[in-house]
């Protein structure tokens, strides 16, 4: 691994200049390294961070990728990591014109990393250096504790997708305020279904009472109202205090943090070193959370800019066709499948155009005449601003949910594909299932990263109770045992997981054989997995 040549660096600086002129914002310094294909293979299991801690699963991945490379050799061009300064890796055999395209793509990523709000808490962060420190800590521990360090890494990683990213963001944000009595009273206390059944009218009456109190006593209306509440509900104060305590804990769904704070096993003097290991795993996982939640945006943004800037670059005259071939490979939409590069890039271009014509407004939405809609053009000149604000403020789920509309789906001829069995020909037929924007949106939403939400309790026998919040999706059953094994180890005792599993409702045999296949009905059953002494049991609870 070595720094790029001065020649390539000069090209990079030229790209930076042009990118800045186009409105991209990024810091002055950046590091570019030349790596070989073999380096790429070794770096990719480490998320391209050479200083990331060592772990045997990465070795397995490297061996696997080397095997794959032997069968399907390829020649990757670049990757970039989000750290300060940003580091990007390049293959050593790229021609100059290709480097121009690649540098623009990389600059798109860097701009995204340094301006998207989901990355805000990584903005001043030299992750490569932090990772190096972590790597050394783990190496040191490994020299003392041997393979047990790897078990702890493994078990911590088995729940590292459950770090409460949004909870952490909330606790970091400046707006995170104390839980007030008023908020608690209206948002939680009054709405607690178990306490008593309340009608909406009585809830509204309480609000009215509060408003009245504020109106009549501008100075201390709130306090008077609280006094009234305390008098009316004797249990209010202790409940509030308990809630306020929990509120400050934050990270309610962060299983790793919960274990670190509450596990008696980890609290023992001889096990304290494990906390260090778990913290490293947790911090690393948190660091990658924004990346995984902005895949379409990030790749779309980088592709949008390499396309926009490359063709305007005077240095590449004569290589337009070469470029077109490479660009098409990256950004074409597959006949079947979902390419985040292509989708993101098209959505950005579409939104820029829509906004340019003033179509992102209420006035436009009110028009139902198709012809008028087509002709609509306000020439606002605000297209670029609009996409820059998207790059700053959104993550994938918001991006897709807000902006994929029928016009976009029609424009790019998008559809949802499904497959069915053709019994005569014994083939799977892939067919166009739907061209409706809502279905397309739902399909993408389904493929986005969405770890399960887990609530944590400890029961009287000191057993850890995890309840999976029901979202019409089951957990992947084959992995439950492995994950629970790890949690049991870190918790140091019995661990239960409550979840839901679908049970198909048997079809009426008299109906089978009809033309229309009846939609499959599902009954959701509540299931409890218990892990005790490395043995797992599964029971239905209803």
């Amino acid at each position: 691994m070595e720094l790029v040549s001065q020649h390539a660096k000069r090209i990079m600086e030229g790209c930076k200049e042009r990118a800045r002129d186009a409105g991209l914002k990024f810091q002055e310094q950046s590091l570019e390294y030349i790596v070989t294909n073999r380096d790429f293979l070794q770096l990719s299991p480490k998320n391209m961070i050479p200083t990331l801690y060592d772990y045997w699963v990465q070795d397995v991945e490297v061996l696997k990728e080397q095997g794959q490379y032997e069968l399907y050799p390829n020649n990757p061009y670049e990757t970039v990591i989000n750290t300060r300064p940003p580091i990007s890796f390049y293959n050593d055999n790229n021609p100059d014109w290709l480097n121009v395209m690649i540098f623009y793509h990389v600059l798109g990523h860097i701009d995204f990393f340094q301006n998207n709000l989901f990355f805000r808490n990584t903005w001043d962060y030299d992750f490569a250096a932090k990772a190096l420190a972590d790597k050394r800590i783990i190496a040191k521990l490994r020299s003392e504790k041997g393979r047990w360090v790897d078990y702890v890494i493994e078990f911590a990683r088995s729940v590292d997708n459950l770090v409460g990213y949004f909870d952490v963001l909330l606790s970091l944000s400046e707006n995170s305020k104390k839980l007030t009595m008023i908020d608690y009273y209206f948002d939680v206390f009054l709405q607690d279904k178990e306490r008593e059944k309340r009608s909406i009218a009585s809830y509204v009456a309480e609000i009215e009472l509060y408003n009245k109190s504020i109106r009549e006593f501008p100075g201390d209306g709130e306090e008077r109202f609280i006094d009234y509440v305390k008098k009316k509900h004797a249990e209010f104060e202790p409940l509030f205090e308990k809630a306020a305590k929990d509120w400050h804990k934050g990270g309610r769904r962060d299983v790793l943090q919960f274990l670190m704070e509450n596990s008696k096993f980890l609290g023992r003097e001889e096990n304290k070193w494990m906390l260090t290991v778990i913290e490293v795993v947790r911090a690393t996982s948190l660091y990658f959370q924004p990346q995984i939640r902005t895949k379409i945006l990030n790749e779309g943004w980088a592709s949008y800019w390499h396309d926009a800037l490359f063709l305007k670059d005077d240095r590449i005259k004569g290589h337009e066709v070469d470029y077109a071939v490479i660009n098409a490979k990256v950004t074409s939409m597959p006949r079947v499948g979902l390419n985040p590069y292509g989708l993101g890039m098209r959505l950005f271009a579409y939104l820029e155009q829509q906004s340019e014509k003033g179509k992102m407004t209420f006035d436009y939405r009110r028009i139902s005449d198709q012809h008028k809609r087509k002709q609509y053009n306000e020439s606002t000149g605000r297209g670029k601003d609009f996409i820059f604000s998207i790059r700053e403020n959104l993550c994938d789920s918001m991006f897709i949910n807000r902006f994929v509309d029928q016009e976009f789906v029609d424009l790019h001829k998008l559809f949802v594909v499904d497959r069915r069995l053709n019994k005569e020909r014994m083939t799977w037929e892939y067919y166009v299932k739907s061209r409706k924007a809502e279905h397309y949106k739902a399909m993408i939403a389904d493929s986005l990263y969405h770890p399960p939400a887990i609530n944590i309790h400890v029961d009287d026998d000191n057993a850890l109770i995890l309840s999976h919040v029901f979202e019409n999706k089951p957990l992947y059953r084959d992995y439950i045992e492995g994950a629970l094994l790890g949690i049991e180890f870190l918790w140091g005792g019995k661990t239960c997981l409550y979840t839901f599993e679908p049970e198909p409702v048997k079809r009426d045999p008299s109906q089978s054989g009809t033309e229309e296949e009846p939609s499959r009905e599902i009954k959701w059953r509540r299931v409890r997995y218990t892990m005790k002494d490395k043995k797992m049991t599964r029971v239905m609870v209803d």
Partner: protein, 460 residues
């Protein structure tokens, strides 16, 4: 419904079936009626959003010089580590995987790679319908783009891929080029060393290896290092018969025999070709209707492992034969077909056993070969008492070095109650021929390590 099957079913019914047996048979018949499909197809290469990355997308896929895979050292190290896990009380995590690059000529390229998964709590698709239920897909659909009306078919893919059309992960090929053999050999070595499988006995000598040992085996007339007395005497007698000094009747006077100079036979130290013992392995698989999904996968995976292990044991001197059976048995010529084929008919184990016996007899395989028969089934058999299967099995045991039966229960019935298991146990062959016949019953949810334990059971 197939007429033949129907007739067979009726004749069985006449002879009397219990309600369970009847329902078992009916289920397989139903499956055939629905053209019930086995879920053997490799998932199409559709990637999720997170499978895309800069390296892959901008990677130039034109072939480069191949890189030598020089990782045996660390693979061994990782496996050693995995063994240590077991001692520490955690399940093993590394699996030995195979990657296949199919090619037109059939000499698929295979590499052996370790694989592992990091188990986490993740959301899953809602899956309904059990294995072997060939209905819809149960997946929520994928993205697509381009022309086509709603409902229009934009492509299709065979449920049972043609030979060579597999997309990788299809397991070990047979025949083919050197790569496959050498990799299966590696896998076998790993299996033997890491999983401590036993070695086998030699039998018969036939094919040569290009390997020589030095021994007093070369015979020469007139000179040499050691006089081979027996051979010399034999020549002397031949000479004297020719000279009519020895006649048919009457005593021979040994003092009176003439000895020709050429009669003396000496042995001389010389280099000799060494012959490796050789094995013929029959892989027999039930591919009837009830074998859908998981049982098939388990059986085939186990057979891949056994195959690799035998290749190692016999230094590549293994001939493999693949036999599939439902109510009738047929031989197929390679592993691909063996792996991918499925039908939805009934089950008659005896048909397969009879075919093995016939092949062995016709080709006189018994003389020079160790013969192994590995049979994988879900345990259903229409021949419920084994009236036909047991005699065939007995016959097989007269020549086979080992018969291993794997019963991968399909989960429809009660565990330990499959027809095959019942009649084999009842026949007493397991005790009588305990050195030759082994049976291994695994559940539908077995893991790879369970399969390896099973192999140990089958061949120890």
């Amino acid at each position: 419904m197939n007429k033949q099957l129907r007739a067979l079913y009726d004749s069985l019914k006449e002879r009397g079936l219990t309600a369970e047996q009847d329902s078992m048979i009916r289920r397989e018949l139903d499956l055939q009626n629905q053209n019930g499909d086995h879920d053997c197809v490799v998932a199409p290469a559709i990637r999720g959003i997170y499978a895309y990355n800069d390296q892959a997308m901008q990677g130039n896929t034109s072939p480069q010089n191949l890189m030598a895979l020089n990782s045996v050292q660390s693979l061994d190290y990782l496996l050693e580590r995995d063994k240590q896990r077991e001692k520490d009380g955690f399940p093993r995590k590394i699996r030995i995987g195979k990657m296949v690059k199919p090619s037109q000529e059939g000499d698929d390229k295979v590499v052996i790679v370790p694989t592992t998964v990091e188990e986490k709590l993740l959301h899953d698709q809602v899956r309904t319908g059990g294995d072997g239920d060939g209905g819809g897909d149960g997946q929520g659909g994928q993205g697509g783009s381009g022309d086509g009306e709603e409902g229009e078919i934009i492509g299709e893919q065979p449920v049972r891929p043609e030979q060579g059309a597999g997309q990788g992960g299809a397991g070990q090929g047979e025949g083919g080029g050197h790569d496959i053999e050498s990799n299966a050999y590696d896998l076998g070595r790993i299996l033997t060393e890491q999983f401590e499988l036993p070695n086998l006995k030699d039998k018969g000598k036939k094919r040569s290896l290009t390997k020589y040992t030095y021994d007093l085996t070369d015979k020469n007339r007139g000179f040499g290092q050691i006089l081979d007395k027996k051979a010399t005497l034999r020549r002397i007698i031949q000479t004297n018969i020719a000279l009519q000094r020895i006649k048919g009747h009457g005593a021979v006077d040994s003092q009176d025999l003439l000895i020709s100079p050429g009669d003396r036979i000496y042995r001389i130290l010389s280099k000799e070709k060494d012959y490796e013992s050789q094995a013929v392995v029959f892989f027999v698989r039930d591919y009837s209707g009830s074998m859908g999904g998981k049982p098939t996968e388990l059986v085939v995976n186990q057979h891949v492992l056994i195959y690799s292990w035998l290749i190692y044991q016999y230094k590549n001197q293994v001939i493999t034969r693949f036999i599939l059976h439902d109510t009738e048995a047929k031989e197929v010529d390679n592993f691909q077909t063996y792996y991918n084929s499925s039908v939805a008919g009934g089950t008659q184990v005896s048909s397969a056993y009879a075919l093995v016996n016939k092949i062995v007899e016709d080709e006189n395989l018994e003389r020079d070969n160790n013969i192994y028969v590995f049979h994988g089934t879900d345990g259903d058999d229409w021949d419920t008492k084994g009236e036909k299967a047991i005699p065939e099995l007995r016959k097989m045991l007269t020549y086979a070095s080992r018969v291993g039966i794997t019963i991968a229960e399909n989960g429809y019935g009660i565990s330990g109650q499959t027809e095959v298991e019942k009649y084999v146990r009842k026949s007493g062959l397991l005790e009588e021929q305990s050195k030759l016949l082994r049976i291994d019953v695994i559940s539908k949810d077995s893991t790879e390590s369970r399969l390896i334990t099973g192999i140990r059971e089958l061949i120890s």
